[in-house]
Amino acid sequence: MESAVVVFHLGPLAITATVVTTWGIMLLLGLAAWFATRRLSLDPGPLQTLVEGIVSAMDNAIRGMLPQRSQMLLPFIGTLWIYVLVANLTGLIPGLSSPTASLSVTAGLALLVFLSVHWYGVRSEGFVGYLRHYLRPSPILLPFHLISEVSRTVALAVRLFGNVMSLELAALLVLLVAGLLVPVPLLMLHVIEAVVQAYIFGVLALVYISGAMQSQQTVSDSNEEGGT
């Protein structure tokens, strides 16, 4: 269910409903972030406690995989979780469609994950050092490494797109066939699926990035042990 409805044109760019929805989500999240953090204090209230709990939970999840790099990865991984979750849930609002039901969106996010893996890997060990890990444990595995990079990125995009699009399509079909209240259980399943898919997308991104960074760290550690 690819949504290619063009809302307006911005010069040569055709602004689709997906982009407009994303802008709305960005505005909503920006305002929510400003509202939640405008009066932070050392003695937190209920809202600040909730906000700190969310951030701490994400930080702890990242810290579990990369204890030393959680501060660096939190903005990217945390934004993936939040954005994908809100985008997934947007489909529950009548008249709106989930941006993540668009392959263009999930492909863009997957591409960002793909690039971020290399970006953080290069930042961690340098360009040559990072590229060297494709030759380990044997240069013969280089094609498989490259295929793996592409296939897991494609899988990341298609998995999220397929799950969200199929849920919305299933809900639409049930609504057309059975009536008004019958799709409600399916919508509840949509909520669970939205949370699960957001979590999976972010965790996979975290696993890919941490794999790139920890592979360099493992090599460095093994070299240090060999040197000593």
Partner: protein
């Protein structure tokens, strides 16, 4: 299922902008306040630990001071004990000396009291003895006894030393001096003559004589010459005897 490249590109840009927005307005402020709270907690923990260490140091110092105080107190207590023991020994010695002195004083008083009782008893015995002797002698005394006593007195006068004779003569030489002669019974003339002659010889002159009777003498004579009294009678002898015995005791 096709990709709209415009949407694809815009979504990438939108997501990057969203990352910046959330990083700027969400993650950083929240992480900052968490870090500040954690720093405050760590500071409070550090302060608490410092206070605890300080308290432990003070506790150790206090315990050391208590130990020192305890040691000083033990020393002072031992010193006080020694002083008390020494003072007690001193007081006990003083008390023992006082008791001994009191015992000695009581012994002396007791001895004196016994001596006084014995002396009183002796005096009473002597007095009774003298009274008994006087009663016996008064029944035995007569004129013959008086004359024998006079003869004895005359013999004693003849045995006086020159110095004694000179002393009596000096007293007799004073103007107005008389010789008083007291007897228990009237003395016969012969006895009076022998007594007068003997006195004249001793005094080297003849003095006027006055005779008197005093039965308390029992027997014998008492001659008074000025300040001098010559006792030659039983009453005075008994008294002399009693007094001599008393002095001797």
């Amino acid at each position: 299922m096709e990709v709209d490249w415009t949407t694809f590109a815009l979504e990438i840009i939108n997501f990057l902008i969203l990352v910046w927005i959330l990083k700027r307005f969400f993650y950083h402020p929240v992480l900052d306040v968490i870090a500040r709270r954690r720093a405050g907690i760590e500071k409070e923990m550090a302060d608490a630990k410092a206070v605890e260490e300080k308290a432990q140091a003070l506790e150790q110092q206090y315990e050391n001071r208590l130990a020192d105080w305890e040691k000083e107190r033990e020393g002072a207590r031992a010193k006080l004990g020694e002083e008390i023991s020494r003072e007690r020994e001193h007081q006990m010695a003083a008390v023992a000396a006082a008791v001994e002195a009191e015992r000695e004083r009581n012994r002396v008083l007791d001895e004196r009291h016994r001596q006084e009782l014995r002396r009183t008893a002796e005096e009473q015995a002597l007095a009774q003895g003298a009274a008994f002797s006087a009663r016996v002698l008064s029944r035995l005394a007569d004129a013959g006894l008086d004359e024998r006593i006079v003869e004895t007195m005359v013999a004693d006068l003849q045995r006086l030393t020159l110095e004694q004779r000179q002393t009596l003569a000096t007293s007799a030489a004073e103007a107005g001096v008389k010789m008083h002669i007291v007897t228990a019974r009237p003395l016969r003339d012969a006895a009076q003559a022998r007594l007068s002659a003997a006195m004249t010889e001793v005094l080297q002159r003849a003095l006027p004589q006055e005779y008197a009777i005093d039965e308390s003498l029992i027997g014998g004579v008492r001659v008074t010459i000025g300040p001098w009294v010559l006792h030659a009678n039983l009453s005075d002898d008994l008294q002399f005897f009693a007094g001599g015995v008393r002095r001797a005791s």
